[in-house]
Symmetry: C2
Subunit: 266 residues, 2 copies
Amino acid sequence: MTRSQLIEQIFQKKSYLCVGLDTDINKIPRHLLSAADPVFEFNKQIIDATKDFCVSYKINTAFYEAMGVRGWETLQKTEAYIPSSHFKIADAKRGDIGNTSTQYAKAFFEALSFDAVTVAPYMGADSVKPFLQYEGRWAIVLGLTSNEGAQDFEFQKLRDEYLYEKVLKTVSQWGTTENLMFVIGATQDGQFKQVRSLTPNHFYLVPGVGAQGASLKAISEIAMNKDCGLLVNASRAIIYASDGEDFALKAAAVAKAYQLEMSTYL
Amino acid sequence: MTRSQLIEQIFQKKSYLCVGLDTDINKIPRHLLSAADPVFEFNKQIIDATKDFCVSYKINTAFYEAMGVRGWETLQKTEAYIPSSHFKIADAKRGDIGNTSTQYAKAFFEALSFDAVTVAPYMGADSVKPFLQYEGRWAIVLGLTSNEGAQDFEFQKLRDEYLYEKVLKTVSQWGTTENLMFVIGATQDGQFKQVRSLTPNHFYLVPGVGAQGASLKAISEIAMNKDCGLLVNASRAIIYASDGEDFALKAAAVAKAYQLEMSTYL
């Protein structure tokens, strides 16, 4: 999906919501466990119930890999089920030396049909660039993450800037605003202004709203740009809104509430 | 596998060689393409031919993911085929917020039975610690990598040290020499002394020998400790030593040559 197609979806739906499919078989409603593929059945119903309120889905690969081969099958079926109107993110945090990153890019952009993959920056340019070689596909590079561990290295001070600032400045030179986004945690509200000044035109994938406790308001008010420039993800807060037979209805209600709040910021 | 078991294998075999199974279906001998699972058939023959000369195998997950569900099946079969006498590494470069890293640890230590997983440090403590919760299993955290991109961030200067040095010092506090190793690229010979002084007792997984051009001699002479403390990986130089019907024989010969050289350093 191109940038202009994504922007069109956002303004049409008045939503920049991404629903995170971090589906854990131990947390889904019990009545689904008799299905042939309970996790896929869950994802299917979640997608059907929320697709009008979001513009993107994010599949967290860890939850599927934890189920072995069967999980990878479920991942593939889920990716294929997401409507092509929605921006499909593999939240995989990949990254390796060049020839290996090329294989990861093939995995997510050729064997599977994701629009974007999250990528870890530690290993530098040759680990990121192979993801930037596909027309209409994206690398979403970790900038400033939402977790406590962000303090350990991302906030290490270089001469006159934090490491995460150096990452944003350097990585943004490797691609364009048409093939590169950054992960910016919604919990990092003290840094939003600085983040936006370093990368004024990029889109951000923003985790941390919902179960991780950050507010949608701060990131929206401080870091939105004229093209919106945000995809705000909520996973657990939406998909586990209820653990009963009404889980899809409840997920839709939470997604709709996010969409309504988002419409006021756009 | 525990540290003492690994050390025993190394001194028994006089080898600290790790064979990297970066198996690309486009590079294996053509006569294997008629097998039901050509990549598995290739891996099986490589393992049979090299197992006497190495103490470890490293499966590069990217090459399997690039083949979709089928690749994940091949990965699983290959992992199961590696003898339990050998240290089994998933070279996966994973790492995410705590609850997601927990799922990656399950994927490689429960759904699969690897001894170790490579882990990216950028996201900090909660992204690494879930891999340290398994008795006899290991996280191998990226310290100083072998690729050109290592210059971009790993060599960024903090107040009085490089980022990679900060990573070694900080991450080594999160685990022990019984559950934590570091990736140290064999191409980084100017740093081996400093690396070893920061982490005197840890094992290193050392890529970069072979196709990437670094020497086995430098890392062995400068960074070996009393327990050896090294697992030196070669992938392409061994597994693609020949693309003919003699590929396994040629792989064995290259692996044996590494083992012989290693025996002189031990």
